[in-house]
């Protein structure tokens, strides 16, 4: 009997853009190939929170999507903040990254409160930062993806970024940071989809989830066939990364 891992896909109806489903697919498929049994819970507004949760994946959305989920997000704010503090592995992309921060102030000065799970705030900008992006991180090698946002996010002092980027790129185009890392939660502007081309991050989320639930990450249930399939995927991935870093922004 393989060990089960429960994943919440948060607001997949309204916060799901630019291939965010690719992140969920990458986690479930890799878990399966490591010999674990993934189980995805799609949690939209008003849906019950599953009894067992080992990982949370959230995506980006348009302004309309953010408005639709904001009330529900506040209902769950204590729970989510607690889970971040507790070390739950999470990935929040773009729109949910912003809403996990303290607030978002639009260009006309309207303030939309976030849940404050990340010490960061975002202000609306006139410039949309769009393009291929490679960021550097000690924990995850080079992180390869694509950014597309006009909000400028600023991290509070002491908050770790996910990675370092060149001038004009990343969180705000000013301080060379991209994304944020709070315990085991990762917030980022990187699409790509992020996880398929960044297996170091995928495996960090997976390993953390498994270790928290079962004490240790073991590959005893993995078959040779699964190992071969995983290495095939990783070979495709290595080549895709090689090409991606050579492309214009």
């Amino acid at each position: 009997m393989s060990k089960r891992i429960d994943i919440v896909s948060l607001y997949p109806k309204d916060m799901n853009i630019y291939g965010d489903t690719g992140n969920v697919l990458t986690i479930t498929r890799r878990l399966g190939l490591y010999g674990y049994e993934p189980c995805v819970h799609f949690v939209n507004q008003g849906d019950a929170w599953p009894e067992q949760v080992d990982m949370i994946l959230g995506g980006g959305g348009q302004d309309t999507g953010q408005k639709k989920i904001i009330d529900d997000l506040f209902e769950r704010a204590d729970l989510l903040r607690g889970l971040v503090e507790d070390g739950m592995p999470m990935l929040m992309i773009c729109g949910l990254y912003q809403l996990f921060g303290e607030y978002f102030e639009t260009v006309d000065g309207t303030r939309l409160d976030g849940i404050g799970a990340i010490g960061a705030y975002t202000v609306g900008g006139d410039v949309r930062r769009i393009g291929n992006l490679v960021e550097h991180s000690e924990d995850f090698d080079d992180i390869i993806g694509y950014e597309n946002h006009s909000g400028q996010t600023f991290l509070r002092e002491g908050v770790e970024p996910l990675g370092k980027v060149g001038e004009g790129l990343g969180n705000n185009g000013e301080d060379g940071t991209e994304g944020a890392r709070v315990h085991n939660m990762i917030g980022t502007y990187m699409h790509g989809s992020l996880l398929p081309k960044n297996p170091a991050i995928s495996d960090f989320l997976i390993r953390t989830a498994v270790e928290r639930r079962y004490g240790s990450f073991d590959l005893s249930a993995q078959t040779d066939e699964q190992r071969a399939e995983l290495s095939q995927l990783d070979e495709y991935c290595a080549k895709a990364r090689e090409v991606a870093v050579s492309r214009p922004r």
Binding site: Y18, G19, G22, F42, D63, R128, I130, N148, L233
Partner: protein, 461 residues
């Protein structure tokens, strides 16, 4: 005027001599020296300007409208494929007008990219507009899809005669409220049974309802209904679309045949077009042509149902929209893919069984630099047959995508010429499907042109 046309043509001639190739260069020069050229030239047209915009199907639908209107008796000016921006229209006009600036046509049918459509309507108010859909496409260029809908609302606001809207796309149907007083609205629509082929952008995500079990069970596979039109779930921006009576409804689709409902009567016809989405574009074109026919005297243009249906049956597929090229006895179907919905619809329309499949993904500016769209396409329908060849600049991204979807991948080859040649010459006689992004399609046609006869689809090779 004489000077403008002469200079514009001179630049075009030079551009060709120097193999500059850019069809927009003469347009650029003319826009600078004579900013009124576009509006003044198009203002001569007795029946005005038709503007076609939206994410998917612009080229096909523009071609259909132009072909039908000219079949029915009008002299039509249209912009060639790939020049769907204002400057491209100016360049195209330069080749058509006389040196005194006279445009010898009754009506113009222009395809414009959403962003350029906004610039265009500031200069020229179209008499007719046809707004097809808003989908996730090249969001890196326009931002977000609600923003794209806003761009199209400027077109609706500027239209003086009739706006034709897609009843089944909530963001498009909602534009009816933007239509100025005195301008009429028509809708084209789908019979309920066909709606499952056309999930809206919102419905693509509506599959992620409730507490599903595994990722597998939740990926909406091609051709299965999301159920959203029956339950009302998932269409967040629902406008109660069925309340509007459609001017033209696509009722049924068969092999190279379709049924359209107009004025309460079903009309069956054979078609040369492939794929259910092209037939829905035909419904859009029919509705637009009916709007024109209502304004043009019968002596000038035939507008009866039989003539319209005949005109639909004569339309041929456009470049990369189900174009079939014979390579040593293998029919090779070229399918242009540029966004998740278009790719999904193509996969749903062309069953892979009994065929070899190739996918070529480039990421040049015209294709879109962002690869994340590949993760919004559902490839499960290719699991059974696999994909024989993957190529293009981003071949490895595509292979990775297919790998995660458990679709068997044959060869991955980033050498494009070699990939195309070996793919089309393998298994002689077996039909082939080639899914290509825009620039990959241009290259594929060039490679095929060296192997066999490829017609010039107005885009060069």
């Amino acid at each position: 005027m004489f000077a403008t046309v002469a200079i514009g043509r001179g630049v075009r001639h030079l551009a060709r001599l120097t193999r500059h190739g850019g069809s927009a260069l003469p347009g650029k020069v003319v826009e600078r020296i004579d900013p009124g050229f576009l509006a003044r030239t198009l203002a001569q047209l007795p029946y005005g300007v038709v503007l076609v915009s939206g994410t998917n199907g612009k080229t096909t639908t523009t071609r259909m409208v132009a072909s039908m209107l000219s079949d029915l008796g009008l002299r039509v000016f249209t912009n060639p494929t790939g020049s769907n921006f204002t400057r491209g229209v100016v360049s195209a006009l330069l080749t058509e007008v006389s040196l005194t600036g006279k445009l010898d046509a009754d009506i113009a049918v222009l395809e414009l990219d959403e962003a350029y459509a906004v610039h265009f309507v500031k200069q020229v108010r179209p008499k007719y507009s046809l707004l097809l859909n808003v989908m996730r496409d090249q969001l890196d260029r326009f931002g977000e899809i609600d923003n794209t809908a806003r761009l199209l609302s400027h077109v609706a606001e500027a239209t003086t005669g009739t706006v034709v809207l897609n009843r089944e796309d909530p963001r498009i149907a909602a534009l009816a409220s933007k239509v100025p007083r005195g301008t009429s609205v028509r809708y084209f629509g789908l019979a309920k049974a066909l709606k499952r082929f056309f999930p809206t952008d919102d419905e693509m995500n509506a599959a992620f309802e409730g507490d599903g079990k595994t990722a597998d069970a939740t990926t909406p596979s091609a051709g299965t209904a999301t159920g959203a039109d029956d339950t009302g779930a998932g269409t967040g921006a629902g406008t109660g679309a069925d309340e509007h009576c459609a001017d033209v409804t696509l009722v049924e689709v068969r092999d190279h045949a379709a049924t359209f409902l107009m004025d309460g009567r079903n009309h069956d016809t054979d078609v040369k077009l492939e794929g259910v989405y092209n037939l829905y574009n035909a419904a859009a074109a029919l509705s637009l042509v009916r709007a024109v026919a209502a304004d043009v005297p019968e002596t000038k243009m035939r507008g009866d149902a039989d003539a319209l249906i005949k005109a639909v049956s004569d339309v041929t597929p456009a470049f990369g929209r189900g174009e079939v090229i014979d390579v040593n006895g293998s029919p090779v179907e070229l399918l242009l893919v540029k966004n998740p919905m278009g790719f999904r619809l193509s996969l749903a329309s062309f069953a892979p069984q009994g065929c070899d499949t190739m996918i070529a993904i480039n990421d040049e500016y015209a294709d879109g630099r962002d690869m994340s769209w590949l993760w919004d396409v559902d490839f499960t329908s290719l699991r059974e047959t696999g994909v024989a060849m993957v190529s293009g600049v981003r071949a490895w991204d595509m292979a990775l995508r297919l790998g995660y979807e458990e679709v068997p991948v044959g060869t991955v080859d980033t050498d494009f010429d070699q990939a195309v040649t070996s793919f089309v010459t393998a298994n002689p006689g077996k039909p082939k499907h080639m899914y290509c992004t825009y620039t990959a399609m241009l290259k594929a046609r060039a490679v095929l042109g060296r192997i066999t006869e490829v017609s010039d689809a107005g885009v060069g090779r």
